[in-house]
């Protein structure tokens, strides 16, 4: 039997053009890719989605709002009964753009906020950006559109999360997506952004605490796929069941290449929409082999001994690849960290006992 999954959710990098050069950008966005899709090509790709049962398309970039024909693409998707969301840095969220977002029935707007003012502006290299982003968020809220604040958690902003939480609650934000940083693209080149093991656990504890207050404070925490897994720090229900890339989701780059997830590096493309239909790429027998042909022997050193590996399959593919250059080998995992720490404590205990017994304590 062949693979029988569908790309229910597609991340679509509408353009790699960006008005910012963020230190943590996994896509290294800024300049456009050579030969980005033409308006006609983009619309023709939309028309391929219904057969593949696509339920949601998330516009991303670069800065997707800088692609002039984004409203035409959104309109086409709306006409095809496909839900569309957009992720923006907020810099171009002015009244006329928000009006277009409303007119095209975009069902949600994600705005990036990577810390309090100084941190956000330092990470994104743009003075004044924080207040412009807040103003953009407010305008989107006033237009009656659902807003999700997106935060990439790094070593620079992790200690600001509690203050950000209070700020977002005071703004009436109802959804906050938290994404631990991937060491890919520009993030890989910038030291000091990575999360230490301790910071990763602190992030988990923070999410756990916010999760318990969700009903009271009204701010829903949405951990990204790279957050987890399988301890009390990951409160999601149902629990993590493996990376959706190439199984339930895929990414399309601005020049029409297909990947399991846009966070994966460009050399992991599965096909080119200028040469093949999405259907043929998605159902090609060799497509997404790293996940569709997963076998326990594919697990790397960080996951091999894990009792939960059958369900987990090594966590988020992009995080695993970014951290180790391998799939199914993700060291950024609460369960793995706790195991390592317990083993470390156990080893320390054994060493101490051995030292006592040999009389050299």
């Amino acid at each position: 039997m062949g693979f029988e999954g569908f790309p229910f959710v597609i991340g679509w990098e509408l353009t790699l053009i960006c008005n910012l050069r963020c230190h943590h950008c996994a896509s290294s966005a800024g300049q456009p890719r050579p030969r980005e899709l033409s308006p006609d090509e983009a619309l023709a790709i939309c028309d391929q989605f219904p057969a593949l049962l696509v339920q949601e398309v998330d516009f991303t970039g670069g800065e997707p709002l800088l692609r002039p024909d984004w409203p035409a693409i959104a309109t086409r998707l709306r006409d095809l009964d496909i839900r569309t969301k957009i992720i923006t840095n907020g810099l171009v969220l002015k009244a006329s753009v928000i009006e277009q977002i409303k007119d095209t029935d975009i069902s949600g707007v994600g705005v990036s906020l990577d810390g309090l003012a100084a941190t956000h502006e330092s990470m994104r290299g743009c003075p004044g950006l924080f207040h412009r982003a807040l103003k953009g968020i407010e305008q989107v809220q006033n237009a009656g559109l659902p807003v999700t604040v997106l935060t990439t958690i790094t070593g620079l902003n992790i200690h600001e999360l509690p203050t950000m939480y209070e700020l977002l609650c005071s703004m009436g934000i109802t959804a906050w997506q938290l994404q631990p940083i991937f060491p890919l693209g520009r993030a890989h080149e910038n030291n000091g952004l990575e999360l230490s093991e301790q910071a990763y656990l602190e992030m988990g504890a923070f999410v756990r605490q916010c999760w318990s207050q969700m009903d009271v404070r009204g701010l829903k925490i949405e951990p990204a796929d790279s957050f987890g897994y399988y301890t009390d720090l990951d409160p999601r229900v149902p629990p993590w069941r493996g990376c959706p890339a190439g199984q339930l989701a895929c990414g399309i780059t601005s020049d029409g290449k297909v990947k399991g997830c846009l966070s994966l590096p460009d050399h992991l493309i599965e096909g080119d929409l200028r040469q093949h239909d999405l259907w043929d790429i998605w159902f090609h027998p060799d497509a997404f082999a790293y996940t569709r042909r997963f076998a326990p022997q594919d697990l790397g050193e960080h996951c091999r001994a894990c009792p939960l590996a059958d369900a987990c399959r090594g966590g988020c593919s992009a995080m695993s690849y970014g951290q180790t250059g391998q799939f199914h080998n993700n060291p950024c995992c609460f369960f793995a960290i706790e195991q390592r720490r317990q083993e470390g404590e156990h080893d320390k205990g054994i060493h101490a006992l051995a030292a006592t017994q040999s009389g050299d304590s």
């Binding site: 039997m1 693979f3 029988e4 339920q55 149902p238 069941r241 493996g242 339930l248 259907w279 159902f283």
Partner: protein
């Protein structure tokens, strides 16, 4: 090509505009998606399936590649059940439809 005995005619109005695709395979992933997706088929594909189904019900014949899918569809329709297409059947029908299109273009 496999031949079956003639069976009852399926009236066109019985083939609904919206189909339900039962998603049976990926049960190790998110449970909330392991259910059913609604799909509004492209008009050409819908016409193709309707044509194949009619041929099957009238003449009892169907191409091997899509015979199981047509049998399942036929069962649903004849039993008066809502048409719920198995993911594998849907993929087989789309695959055959697309390969036919490619052959026609050559």
């Amino acid at each position: 090509m496999i031949r079956f005995d003639k069976v009852l005619m399926v009236p066109e109005w019985l083939i609904p505009r919206w189909w339900r695709i039962a998603y049976l395979i990926i049960d190790h992933l998110r449970e909330d998606l392991v259910a059913v997706a609604r799909v509004r088929p492209d008009a050409k594909f819908e016409a193709f399936v309707a044509e194949q189904l009619q041929t099957f019900t009238k003449e009892g014949t169907a191409p091997d590649a899509i015979l199981p899918a047509l049998l399942n569809l036929h069962d649903d329709l004849m039993a008066g059940r809502e048409l719920t297409m198995r993911a594998g059947d849907y993929i087989a029908l789309q695959g055959y439809f697309r390969s036919r299109g490619r052959t026609a273009k050559k």
